[in-house]
Symmetry: C2
Subunit: 145 residues, 2 copies
Amino acid sequence: MVQFQSSELAKKAGVTVETLRYYHKEALLAEPQKTDAGYRQYTEADLQRVLFIKRCQGLGFTLKEIKELLALKDDTTHTAGEVKTLTQEKIALLNQKIAVLEEIKTTLTSLVKNCDGKGGVSDCNILKALSTNEEHNHLGETSSC
Amino acid sequence: MVQFQSSELAKKAGVTVETLRYYHKEALLAEPQKTDAGYRQYTEADLQRVLFIKRCQGLGFTLKEIKELLALKDDTTHTAGEVKTLTQEKIALLNQKIAVLEEIKTTLTSLVKNCDGKGGVSDCNILKALSTNEEHNHLGETSSC
DNA sequence: ATAAACCCCGTTCTTAAGTACAGGGTCAAT
DNA sequence: ATTGACCCTGTACTTAAGAACGGGGTTTAT
């Protein structure tokens, strides 16, 4: 069986050794066997697990969520439906975030449109809008972030 | 001149007294006059400043950015153009963030579409896709976040 | 047999935007 | 004159995901 030491696995996975230690501490990755000197000996399965974590992270899952995902994956009594649900919840969250950002963007864009950028700060329509509570500049409370 | 004590201003501005203390520490808000007993006496201008901060925050500006904005606002030698530029940069950032989220959403959505949610975790097409590096599942490195 | 390049462990530091807490003064009313 | 509701200060804690550090062991090559 092929074994790697920590820096080797780290390089293959595109993380640092510190990150691996962190994953061990957070129980995302089990401690592998160790040599007599206490050196970790990782396997291909460990590498795959770290890559899985990294892929999930790239898709916006937090380590906490990834831990859940891994727990489902590790325990065959769980179902595909649970994974699907988790993923759909993530999509819903994503939609919320996108909607908030879009709304903010709309407001900022209209602020910029109303500002010719000429004159001193006291002439700036953006600052004027931000300095008043009036409704007509879309500046209602952008509730939960 | 009307003066408020801290909890009063906090209530009017929708923040806590602790937040005000934090803004003082961060130099977003100057320390107001104090009574002999050391009690802060805020003015209407202080209230407006906190409201300004909160509005900017609602639009996704960080306190650091708001500090910049306030610095421009406070110093009349600055121009409306600077404010406009800052705002436009924020919009650009916003667009980047939205694009990243949209991309992730696309990937997750296609993962969900390929998973019927039936069977155990070993049947789950989402987990299968996340467990392999193949190109056909849109799982390329979602670079900078 | 010693230097370079690894490895280990435990602990502290980082960012953002506060929140919480400990310990103590003050003001108004009873 | 004492209770309750304020106020002050300074310090530590929070979340997320590691990064950095200090101090020390090991392996490999020279």
